[in-house]
């Protein structure tokens, strides 16, 4: 694969389904947000504590998103039932 081939993959969109599994694309983005946010917040970046902090923030965001999804689902269910 040449550099041109690699560049050409950026001119055509990838195939992504519309199913619920496409929501999994949010996971790597959440990791990025956790890493950059922690990189700006910690006093000193040391490998193990930094990874631990990022994992904790990632887990917190995921739990909050799940709770928000459940609440929205319950509200939608109560309105439409």
């Amino acid at each position: 694969m040449t550099a041109l081939d690699i560049l050409l993959t950026f001119t055509v969109p990838q195939t992504v389904g519309n199913g619920p599994l496409s929501m999994l694309w949010l996971l790597p983005l959440t990791v990025s947000i956790a890493v950059v946010y922690k990189a700006t917040k910690v006093q000193r970046i040391e490998p193990w504590p930094f990874v631990k902090d990022c994992a904790l923030l990632f887990a917190s965001v995921m739990v909050f998103m799940l709770v928000a999804a459940l609440v929205l689902f319950a509200v939608a269910y109560l309105i439409t039932a």
């Binding site: 969109p13 992504v16 694309w25 790597p28 983005l29 947000i33 990189a39 930094f50």
Partner: protein, 135 residues
């Protein structure tokens, strides 16, 4: 503090901010935060690249996607060059790839904005701290 020191301080802050915008993490590198700079560079560039790969360069659309473009341009001025290329509408992208691509590229731009503000803040704090010690 005299006006010469003041203007040199402001120039220092502006350079840190502009470098952080030109290349993600470069603002932190300039003020000596090399590990932080590397983490920011890898994460922001990777997020932006994944967004471009999923949705193609067409997700950067300064004509029909002004709001996402406002976030995307925070990645680097180089995004304006991609926007100039896609302005013609030769790289159409629709549906889920467009959404994912726009979300990734916009969020990476907003993350870089956070890093720019942080680099300017750290530059200010470090310079003031050094001046406080020498006074």
């Amino acid at each position: 503090m005299n006006s010469d020191t003041d203007s040199s301080h402001y120039a220092h802050l502006i350079i840190a901010g502009l470098l952080g915008w030109a290349i993600p993490g470069a603002g932190h590198f300039y003020i000596g935060e090399r590990v932080r700079a590397a983490v920011i560079f890898v994460t922001v560039v990777l997020t932006f690249t994944v967004g471009l790969w999923v949705g193609s360069v067409g997700v950067i659309d300064p004509v029909h996607g002004k709001l996402p473009y406002a976030g995307q341009i925070m990645n680097s001025p180089a995004v304006a060059a991609i926007g100039h290329l896609t302005r013609s509408g030769h790289y159409p992208v629709y549906g889920r790839p467009n959404e994912i691509g726009q979300i990734y590229t916009s969020i990476s731009g907003l993350l870089n904005l956070l890093c720019i503000v942080n680099a300017v803040y750290l530059a200010h704090v470090k310079r003031r701290g050094r001046e406080g010690r020498t006074a």
